[in-house]
């Protein structure tokens, strides 16, 4: 693995800006001028987590003993009940968890896509402004955002199917459209790994289809996606599944992991198993 090894303090300090100026390689399914990652280095990286434990207050771990690897071009579904540690895992990977033990191998800075309910609707920004925020980390304060990044922001909006809504206020968009704008912002970060916090919860059908198609494109580009979700059936279509319930219950290929026993252990009383045991739905505050 060629990832730069970063232990200890990750997050806050400026990380390496991925792929700025790198020649855009052929990107399958991205539609020509779309926001392209820094090509080769992106394709070479994934992430690895070994023995990760941590939490917010001393002596009480919110998450224990997490060990998994995700290679380039893999989508990992992160399953677990509310409070099961999905958010804690993401915060640990982003370097924002107050207390953390274990080893992380990360390919530079990660991009994070929050749930749209957590963003503000009264903030005076357009959809385009929000996407452009993805380039702020590599733009010095005294410079305008580079023209290359402005073009990439337009391309990213186009990729999520919202090119014609670029000038609209973020707050007037639908929940699904806002989620797509936030994903476009993550695309502009050009990060090899994307963490998505329930990106398909409560979004409209058009948005969900668009987001799922985009997941396929990103996978083909060699990016690694960690997707927190409550939808077990959907996670079954991805490359790996990580089940959390305060600790790691299981990790592996969906066919091996998504057994009724593992799901019961993951979700406890929150689980509903549908006919024959091959369909199961984790019940959080969103049900699909």
């Amino acid at each position: 693995m060629t990832a730069d090894r970063r232990r200890g303090s990750i997050g806050g300090a400026a990380g390496p800006a991925a792929g700025s100026g790198g020649a855009a390689g052929p990107v399958p399914g991205s539609g020509g001028g779309a926001a392209s990652p820094g090509s080769d280095e992106t394709n070479a990286c994934g992430l690895a987590v070994r023995g990760l434990s941590g939490g917010y207050v001393p002596g009480r771990d919110a998450l224990r003993d997490v060990t998994f690897e995700a290679g380039p071009g893999q989508i990992v579904g992160v399953l677990g009940p509310n409070g099961g540690g999905k958010t804690t895992l993401f915060r640990a990977l982003l370097g924002e968890l107050p207390r953390r033990r274990g080893e992380l191998e990360l390919p530079g800075r990660l991009a994070y896509v929050p749930q749209t309910e957590r963003t503000r609707l009264d903030f005076p920004v357009s959809a385009f402004d929000v996407v452009l925020m993805g380039a702020y980390g590599r733009t010095p304060w005294f410079r305008r955002v580079a023209r290359r990044d402005r073009e990439a922001a337009r391309a990213a909006l186009d990729r999520v199917g919202l090119a014609e809504r670029a000038g609209d206020s973020f707050g007037v968009l639908s929940g699904g459209q806002r989620q797509r704008v936030l994903i476009a912002r993550a695309l502009l970060q050009e990060a090899p790994v994307l963490l998505l916090d329930e990106p398909l919860s409560g979004v409209d059908g058009v948005s969900a289809a668009r987001i799922e198609a985009l997941f396929g494109e990103l996978r083909a580009e060699g990016r690694t996606l960690l997707v927190a979700t409550h939808d077990v059936r959907q996670a079954g279509e991805w490359d790996r599944v990580l089940c959390l319930h305060g600790r790691q219950i299981d990790f592996g290929r969906p066919a091996a992991v998504l057994s009724p026993e593992t799901l019961r252990e993951t979700y406890g009383a929150e689980l509903i198993v549908l006919e024959g045991g091959d369909h199961a739905v984790g019940v959080g505050h969103h049900v699909h």
Binding site: Y112, S126, V130, M133
Partner: protein, 274 residues
Amino acid sequence: MLAWLTDPFASPIVQRALAELLILALACGPLGVWVLLYRDAYAAESLSHGMLPGLVVAALAGAPLLLGAAGGVLVAAAGIALVARDQRLGADVGVAVCVSALLGLGGMLALSPASPPRLQELLFGNLLGVSGGDLAVAGALAGAVALALAAGHRSLALVGFDRRSAPSLGTAPLRCELALLVVLAVTTIAAVQGLGNLLLVALIIAPAAAALSLARRLAAALALSVALAALAGTAGLIVSYHLEVAAGASVALSAVALALLAVTGGRLIHPAAT
């Protein structure tokens, strides 16, 4: 009509007052937008009120008001931080307790028989008594504030819009929020000479509230807020001249009147917005 507008500015005293207000507009305008977007209006009000004892002590000692304001703001901030450290009380209680205590202390000092009768000036400012030296100091402070806000523009936008994602986008939220409070304190110190510690908040909050109800983009809101603060200052001086009322109060009321107009107008322009 033109003469009615220009007459007040014939005197150098009013000219200096206008210059002071235009300088302050440059700092208060954009700062106010961030203060409202960060829901820090309560902190703005509190910081300016909490520095009264500092002002009074400076007045009693014959020291520059600026020095008293700086000391007062520091004491108020330290007091709030100290009370807020007790988790059972929290920041709101900390602010309320400290500000009431400090306002009371300031009033007691100012109203004691030994004090010179300058309390009015401390509370409401002395816009028409601004000297060339005051202007230079206010200019330097306001310039520093405007520069700091310009430098931090993108970080402020990131954290204000989406605090959770800000670190992954390259900005530490806590540092950004603290920096905004420091800039607020500096602005408060710059504005107290002209507007006093009760009225200066109006020039920070009111134009920004007006701008945010009219503009749909950040850059537009910031520019509009500066323009409205300058307009409120100018209008306030004209009204004060013709009606022979206190200049600082007239400016504050003009700012609030503009804000009311803009919020009402904003509802008409953007009926869908909440």
